[in-house]
């Protein structure tokens, strides 16, 4: 059960609480995570928008994991999708050869052995263990933000239902928290829209959070740094646009950790000063 956590730029840069809580919850579930901080960016949405060379950088990360002989658990949607996409494309022997000749220049090679799974995928396999660790069932109403790229494109993700994923509901249900249905539950958060249109990004965040709060949620649960970037880091802009969109953002492992009876400190809840009403 040894794994490498692939944290990604967004988590490194802004959300140490996601990393802390994921680590403590995964270790409760029996995973051994090596502290490994040599990975580079997955290529994100940026490099593919300018060049096919994105696969060299994605493959570089996979090769680092392969050299360690360990599979990857990722925390964000896009990182998961880019690494999985690279793995799929590298099933083509010709492309693999080409990529390997580039990797050789930096002293690496990649055979294609590393399995990439998002946090949700590994939690889904550990339902019994999660249930067994819940010591303080939560008395909290929550809304869920399903991370798009963990499910779509389905030919890359190969996990759950692409339009109406169930994994997060099933996992959160184990904590005792009440999951509210809200009109916009299966919509994308819209965070990436912020890159070229702050107005569109903020308004989609505001619509979602307002819809979740109207349904009675006391927090929005996320399992991607990019969703948190919109909901948490832009909460002031969102609130200015729509006062009814005020809602705290919790990372999924923070919620699970609360049900495990872990402390605020262990879960990094004071890092973003999360207060649940």
């Amino acid at each position: 059960m040894e794994r490498l956590l692939y944290l990604g730029c967004m988590v490194y840069n802004r959300f140490p609480d996601y990393e802390l809580s994921a680590k403590v919850v995964l270790s409760k579930l029996g995973f051994k995570l090596r502290d490994f901080h040599e990975f580079a960016c997955c290529s994100s949405t940026f490099i593919p928008s300018v060049s096919d060379a994105w696969i060299y950088l994605a493959a570089y990360n996979l090769a680092l994991a392969e050299r360690r002989g360990l599979d990857i658990i990722s925390l964000c949607g896009t990182c998961t999708s880019m690494l999985k996409r690279a793995n799929l494309m590298l099933e083509d022997e010709k492309l693999k050869e080409k990529v390997n000749s580039r990797l050789a220049e930096v002293g690496l090679s990649y055979s294609g052995s590393v399995v990439v799974s998002h946090l949700l995928e590994v939690l889904k396999e550990k339902e019994a263990s999660i249930r067994a660790n819940v010591t303080r069932p939560l008395n909290l109403r929550v809304a869920l933000q399903h991370p798009c790229n963990v499910f779509r494109p389905s030919e890359v993700a190969r996990f759950d239902n692409p339009f109406k994923p169930k994994a997060m509901r099933e996992i959160v249900a184990l904590t005792g928290a009440e999951i509210v249905d809200y009109a916009m539950e299966y919509e994308c958060c819209g965070s990436t829209l912020l890159l070229t249109s702050k107005t569109m990004g903020i308004s989609s965040g505001a619509d979602k959070l307002a819809s979740a709060r109207e349904a009675g949620a006391q927090a929005i649960i996320v399992s991607c740094g990019n969703c948190a970037y919109l909901f948490d880091r832009h909460q002031e802009d969102i609130r200015k646009l729509e006062a009814k969109a005020e809602l705290p953002t919790l990372f999924l492992p923070q919620l699970i950790g609360m049900a495990f009876g872990l402390s605020r400190e262990e879960l990094g809840l004071d890092i973003r000063r999360v207060e649940l009403g």
Partner: protein
């Protein structure tokens, strides 16, 4: 890979279209290919199996790169990360977290030498 029959299924699930990005019959028929959430509902909705991901990326490479994308590419080329990592290790230390061993610039330069920003 399928060919587009211009049915519009992709566009009707598209958050960018719903929020006002001018779109023709398909999500590929638009001037602004960057205002896209990358949610890829379009791909799931397409009955023809059009490779929207690749076509979208190729189309982006033909147009002018928005500043935010230029900055993201530049950060990656210069540092190996899409965001600035200055000060991150100090914060990590505060929370008792291991330091990031920053990616060597020459490694990124070799891997991404085909990527050019004009």
């Amino acid at each position: 890979m399928g060919e587009c029959n211009r049915c519009g299924a992709c566009k009707h699930v598209c958050i960018a279209f719903k929020r006002g990005v001018a779109t023709g019959a398909s999500v590929l028929e638009r001037e602004d290919r960057f205002t896209c959430a990358g949610c890829w509902k379009c791909i799931e909705a397409c009955p023809e199996g059009v490779d929207i991901y690749s076509l979208m990326m190729e189309a982006r490479r033909r147009g002018r790169l928005p500043d935010s994308f230029r900055m993201g590419v530049k950060y990656i080329l210069d540092t190996g990360y899409a965001m600035p990592m200055r000060g991150v290790n100090a914060i990590r230390k505060m929370y008792g977290m291991g330091a990031i061993r920053k990616v060597k610039p020459e490694v990124v330069k070799k891997l991404l030498r085909d990527v050019e920003l004009d």
